[in-house]
């Protein structure tokens, strides 16, 4: 069995002022190279869990180790760790006035020299990684175009390319298809899965569209009010369980 790249134990997180925990996970392990979908309704804790795994959540209790490094609930992880964990943001989080290429190169900031890069110059390995990522997401012809002149689907592909340029060992994607039409959503999911497989990276996607993501992952983790209510292969979840998680909307 593959080594665990994510290991949570007795993890609890409450938003300030909330009595009910946003996350309460007694045990969770994800092996290297797995492709996992976090499913559940809005507010189930999917995005909070992804932020935790990305090292950006503070004030939790319990233990959380990612890529073998125990995270500290009170301080951010070091730069070398952060560059190994890629994150695809729901609303893309791109620098709108910059070109596709510059946004993808920004994914190399964790690798680039901290001072030299301030001049705007990146090394050959950074350019090569950015070129490959742009090519992988099929945006070669748009590389010099400003991001604010792209469609929603193209922007999401830029966000994925930025993440891939990082050469991460884990890819975390927060609702990457929530604002996309079904055809574009399949393209993006395909891209995420293939890129993760090519790079032997672990993939964790959050989504409230389980039917759409089922074909792209090998494990479903369903969250309901911060607790894991299902953990298994996508084909093991039935309509009754989905109805229990999503109510009438399933």
């Amino acid at each position: 069995m593959a080594a665990d790249v994510i290991a949570l134990h007795d993890l609890v997180f409450r938003h300030p002022g909330n009595h009910h925990p946003t996350l309460a996970i007694p045990e969770l392990r994800i092996g290297a190279g797995q492709r996992v979908a976090l499913i559940g309704t809005s507010g189930a804790g999917k995005s909070t869990l992804l932020r935790l795994l990305d090292g950006r959540l503070r004030g939790w209790s319990g233990s959380c180790a990612v890529l073998g490094r125990p995270l500290d609930p009170d301080s951010p992880p070091p730069r070398l760790w952060r560059r190994s964990v890629g994150f695809v943001f729901q609303e893309f989080a791109l620098v709108e006035r910059e070109t596709v290429r510059q946004n993808v190169l920004n994914g190399r900031l964790g690798h680039a020299d901290a001072l030299w890069s301030l001049t705007g110059r990146f090394g050959a390995p950074d350019h090569a990684a950015a070129d490959r990522a742009i090519q992988d997401v099929g945006l070669d012809e748009f590389a010099k175009r400003r991001v604010d002149r792209l469609s929603g689907g193209q922007r999401q592909r830029v966000a994925i390319a930025r993440c891939l340029a990082q050469e991460p060992r884990i890819v975390l994607a927060d609702e990457p298809i929530s604002s996309l039409d079904p055809v574009t959503a399949h393209t993006v999911l395909d891209l995420l899965r293939n890129s993760a497989v090519d790079r032997r990276a672990t993939l964790v996607i959050s989504s409230h569209q389980p039917q759409l993501v089922a074909g792209y992952v090998d494990r479903f983790i369903a969250l309901d009010r911060g607790r894991i209510v299902f953990d298994g292969p996508p084909n093991a979840i039935d309509e009754t369980q989905l109805s229990g998680i999503y109510g009438e909307t399933a």
């Binding site: 990305d54 950006r56 951010p76 730069r79 070398l80 760790w81 952060r82 560059r83 964990v85 890629g86 994150f87 943001f89 609303e91 893309f92 989080a93 791109l94 620098v95 709108e96 006035r97 910059e98 510059q102 920004n106 994914g107 190399r108 900031l109 964790g110 690798h111 680039a112 901290a114 001072l115 890069s117 301030l118 705007g120 966000a159 930025r162 993440c163 990082q166």
Partner: protein, 272 residues
């Protein structure tokens, strides 16, 4: 029953609406009366005599005739004093930029805590309220005649406005790309350089150019109070009744302002 209640409620709403409209109508009428009274007070207090204006038509024509033809012998003086005006505006703007970067960051609500940004914003508002000509007179009194009081007066006066613009640009930064860059492993300086700066650069450059243009216009008249530049010669020739020379200076000032305006417009187009 429900219908009756609904009708009653909507009738009350209509009456309330009428009441509001009536109050609004009275408010507008009273405001109009106050505005008319203020204008009448200003007119009477200023002792404006229209017949004097009508009678001075000939004198105005004679005054304009005395400006013709413009005396080009002052061109060397004009060129040197224009260059001094430009130097005052450039150095004043540089000082203003340095102060505005620091004060703009301190005044930005998303960078500084309220116990810093509230007083800094108040100080900037006070600075904006002090007229440049007054600051220039004080500086002339403090450091003497010449370009130096102008170079000192401009940053003091202009920082109140430019720092406010810088603070507003910083406050408009979208935090999402900054968070994304933190996630990829960027350092604090890398986040500022690649996340914040591209977002605010066009606004900062546009505001700085606008302020430079204003500084240049204002430095043209600083010489009137002895703070260097072309304004000094304008007031000198006016007092000596050498209107042909004043005409040359006026033409150069207009050309100067138009050129700067054109250059600024071209640069702004590039920044879009």
């Amino acid at each position: 029953m429900t219908t009756a209640k609904g009708k009653s409620a909507s009738r009350e709403e209509v009456l309330h609406q009428r009441d509001l409209e009536w109050q609004r109508g009275w408010g507008q009428f009273l405001l109009s009366v106050v505005i008319v009274l203020v204008v009448v007070w200003s007119w009477n207090g200023s002792e404006i005599e229209l017949y004097r204006l009508a009678e001075s038509g000939g004198r105005i024509a004679e005054f304009l005739a005395r400006m013709m033809p413009p005396d080009l012998s002052v061109l060397p003086v004009v060129i040197e004093s224009s260059a001094e005006t430009l130097r005052i505006a450039i150095l004043g703007t540089v000082g203003c930029i340095v102060l505005s970067i620091v004060l703009g960051m301190l005044a930005a609500t998303n960078l500084s805590p309220s116990w810093i940004h509230v007083p800094v914003k108040a100080v900037l508002a006070v600075i904006r309220g002090i007229p440049l000509i007054l600051v220039a007179m004080l500086m002339v009194g403090a450091v003497g005649l010449g370009a130096l009081p102008g170079i000192l007066a401009i940053p003091f006066h202009a920082t109140g406005m430019l720092a406010k613009f810088y603070a507003e640009a910083i406050e408009s930064v979208d935090p999402a790309p900054m968070e994304a860059l933190e996630s990829v492993g960027a350092t604090f300086l890398q986040k500022l350089r690649f996340g914040a700066w591209p977002q605010i650069a066009p606004d900062i450059l546009r505001d700085t150019l606008f302020r430079f243009e204003m500084n240049l216009r204002e430095s043209l008249i600083l010489g009137v109070v002895g703070a260097g530049g072309i304004g000094f010669y304008i007031q000198m020739y006016v007092r000596a009744f050498q209107y042909e020379k004043v005409a040359t200076l006026t033409i150069v000032v207009i050309a100067f302002v138009v050129l700067i305006e054109l250059a600024n417009n071209a640069i702004r187009r590039l920044l879009r």
